[in-house]
């Protein structure tokens, strides 16, 4: 580890914290439907969309209607992408002349992008035409992100709005207005600016295909170009992570410099961090938001420290060959150890899944941190929207546990937490271990599952565990040695991604509806304070115990066994 490496990590954290409030304020304006300076240009677009689609943006929805509209929109979007991929061969903007994407691969990819996972069973350059990248995939990068943020808004409203004697239970907003405003006034303009910066830094943006090069040594090399920058911008900002190329952000065309790398990491985290502030503002006390962000940062810095230490310590099996120092297998020279370790933690703490180094080639413990981050439910900043609503599920459990321990009334930001909310929160949180461990176990005994791993021994098991963790958690990064483009893995991972997204969302929306139907309960002498250091500590504890403990046996069989083998020099 170097001073420069730690400086990078701390500078990143500092800049993120500085950005949290301004971004949170912007998000809050969108949350309330206030007019922004961008309305001059984009206001007519927004109104035009509503008019054509027959939407009344002021029509408030209860949680059931919000959920049904959200689900149906996502299903139509998924079918749209499935169609684009299946018809790729006859559609335009296909300079490489690629044929239709296969059936099970299209199924997997359509779900993958709809659920904000962006798991790549395909190699981008050899499978997807420019049209598929733009029309099939880029739209999901925007809309799955906007859906996530909209859902967070809905939950915020559940906390912030109250049952009133005149109107009865409160509503949780209008799904269409939320999605449209988030896309038009936040994601799209930000991506235009970021995409232009990426192009200036060396990311291609063209409709051309591959360029043939005769190298200095006289060999032939084909260099694939495409509309990369436009996709790259939203890939990070929307915590999507699906790369234009197979190697994702390790590819020099996706991530050409240390500066683009820094901007990518910030893009991944910035909306999630901002949403913590927005939540505090929405419930009338920004300290509530800062407390959440503080708990997230504790988990983030501990994870980063371990991953950086493990990667900087390197692989003893290489040291024995006269190659000392950190682990550079799967890493790019321009990023080095620190920026690669940091990126791996950022991308898995958030539900992004972009990678600038190959996690499969990390040291055993260095690779365990990304895995564990996802198993915690990606609540350390987390995916846009998904991070904060996932975190609030843990917060509900934390006040419940605190209430049991010290005999206080379980209340959170002005709402009594009762049996219904706790049951629904547990239901949502239980999806992760059930599906991850269930599908991993299945794949560890089925021939079709065992055919997947590239590496042998415990590391091979880690590849399977990582795949299902990434799928259910909607991350999308991989221990990419796993051959996942098979009917078995495409089908099972497709199902895993769908369960991991919508089987958490629906109970979460039910909680939002349940909270919105409650009266406001002002904090009294009997309430557990949810802003101070004690609360932050309790949150971290609950997340580690409830979120993490279930996975310890699995980690012991995979990365921990792998680590013991590594330090003893046992190869497989």
């Amino acid at each position: 580890m170097t001073i420069q490496g730690w400086f990078l990590i701390l500078a990143f954290t500092g800049i993120l914290l500085l950005l949290a409030k301004p971004v949170g304020m912007w998000l809050h304006a969108i949350y309330e439907g206030r007019r922004t300076p961008l309305h001059v240009v984009l206001g007519p677009v927004e109104r035009g969309f509503y008019k054509l689609a027959g939407i009344d943006p002021t029509a408030e929805q209860g949680w059931r209607r919000y959920a049904v509209h959200m689900l149906l929109f996502n299903i139509v979007l998924m079918l749209f992408t499935y169609a684009v991929l299946r018809l790729q061969g006859v559609l335009p903007f296909n300079p490489q002349g690629l044929g239709a994407v296969g059936g099970h691969l299209s199924f997997n990819t359509a779900i993958s992008f709809t659920t904000n996972t962006n798991w790549q069973s395909y190699g981008g350059e050899s499978t997807m035409s420019n049209l598929s990248q733009m029309l099939g995939l880029t739209i999901h990068n925007f809309l799955s992100a906007a859906t996530g943020i909209a859902l967070a808004f809905a939950l915020f409203r559940g906390f912030a709005r109250h049952h009133s004697p005149e109107k009865g239970p409160a509503t949780i907003g209008n799904f269409w207005a939320d999605v449209t405003r988030i896309t038009l006034y936040l994601l799209l303009p930000a991506c235009v600016a970021i995409a232009i910066f990426y192009i200036a830094s060396g990311v291609p943006q063209t409709l051309a295909g591959a360029i043939d090069v005769s190298t200095l040594e006289g060999a032939k090399q084909s260099i694939l170009l495409g509309p990369v920058a436009s996709q790259e911008a939203i890939k990070m900002l929307g915590t999507n992570g699906g790369g234009f190329f197979n190697a994702n952000s390790a590819h020099p065309f996706e991530n050409p410099t240390a500066l683009t790398n820094f901007v990518q990491m910030l893009s991944i985290f910035v909306i999630g961090a901002g949403l913590s502030w927005t939540f505090g503002k929405a419930v009338g006390n920004t300290r509530q938001g800062w407390a959440i962000l503080a708990a997230m940062m504790v988990l983030f810095l501990v994870g980063t420290g371990i991953a950086y230490w493990a990667e900087a310590a390197g692989n003893p099996n290489l040291h024995a060959l006269g190659v000392p120092g950190g682990n550079m297998e799967g890493k790019e020279v321009r990023f080095g150890i620190a920026a690669s370790a940091l990126y791996s933690v950022v991308t898995t703490a958030a539900s992004c899944g972009a990678v600038n180094a190959m996690h499969d080639s990390f040291t055993a413990l260095g690779g365990m941190i990304p895995l564990f981050n996802m198993q915690l439910g990606e609540v350390v900043v987390g995916g846009v929207g998904a991070g904060i609503y996932g975190f609030l599920l843990f917060a509900i459990l934390a006040v419940f546990v605190a209430g049991l321990m010290v005999g206080r009334t379980p209340e959170y930001v002005g709402k009594k937490i009762e049996a219904r909310e706790v049951k629904l929160a547990v239901l949502a949180i239980a999806v992760l271990p059930l599906v991850i461990l269930g599908f991993t176990s299945l794949s560890s005994v089925m021939d079709a599952g065992l055919a997947g791993p590239l590496n042998k021994g415990p590391h091979g098991f880690s590849e399977i565990l990582y795949a299902f963790t990434s799928g259910v958690a909607n991350n999308g990064s991989a221990f990419a040695g796993l051959t996942a483009n098979t009917p078995y893995y495409n089908a099972l991972l497709g199902i895993a991604m769908w369960l991991g997204r919508f089987f958490i969302i629906v109970p979460m929306l039910a909680i939002a509806g349940s909270l919105a139907a409650k009266k406001y309960t002002p904090a009294g002498a009997g309430s557990f304070p949810t802003t101070g250091g004690l609360w932050v500590g309790l949150l971290v504890g609950i997340i580690l115990i409830l979120g993490g403990l279930t996975f310890l046996p699995g980690l012991a069989l995979g990365p921990i066994a792998d680590h013991l083998a590594m330090i003893r020099g046992q190869l497989s």
Binding site: R64, P204, I223, S230, E329, K331, A357, F362, A364, F479
Partner: protein, 191 residues
């Protein structure tokens, strides 16, 4: 629930079409137009043209395997530096295949006369298989061989390497690195 469903049908279908047009076509095409107008070199892959021929890109690495050139890192992209098949090796830390491969590369460097600790990047595959850079140490480890094969004084080659080092941005962001295509082109110009 039935009314929730029917009321969602028209918005779901119409909004999918509208957003597809805006985000899937208008946005990337507008960015393409802007990129091609303002940054045509970068937008088209930062290509290097020599005597009217495209010899590579400053951004993406190409294979150098000859002893006359500074050689690039091992690559898992296709048969090596395949611009249509970017990939890392994905070999784990306890992989026999990884250790065998590294051992082979270490022995090759030892045969060239490199002694002492070997720079890690010289014998490990990058994440993309298209890494355009080497660390300064990995380039310096090849100076003796390149100078010998080309019949140049080692000091001149070493000075060339030193001149090609790109320092971290503002001294902190990124790692010191050398673009191998740029270094080898400069090497070809050295008389």
């Amino acid at each position: 629930m039935g009314k929730d469903f029917t009321s969602a049908l028209r918005p779901a279908i119409v909004m999918t079409i509208l957003f597809a047009a805006l985000l899937g076509l208008a946005y990337p095409l507008a960015i393409t137009g802007i990129g091609q107008a303002i940054f045509p070199v970068q937008a088209n892959g930062s290509l290097v043209v020599e005597n009217g021929k495209v010899v590579g890109s400053t951004v993406v690495g190409q294979a150098f395997t000859s002893d006359r050139y500074f050689q690039t890192r091992p690559s898992a992209a296709g048969q090596g530096y395949d611009g249509l098949a970017s990939s890392g090796s994905n070999l784990g830390p306890t992989s026999q295949a990884l250790i065998d491969r590294v051992k082979g590369d270490v022995e090759k460097r030892r045969a060239e006369g490199v002694s002492g600790a070997l720079p890690a990047d010289l014998v490990t595959a990058s994440g993309s298989g298209l890494d355009p850079d080497l660390s300064p140490q990995a380039a310096l480890a090849q100076v003796e061989r390149v100078a010998r094969v080309r019949g140049l004084p080692a000091a001149r080659v070493r000075a060339l390497v030193a001149a090609q080092v790109e320092q971290p941005l503002l001294g902190v962001l990124g790692e010191p690195r050398i673009n191998i295509l740029s270094l080898n082109r400069a090497l070809d110009r050295l008389r």
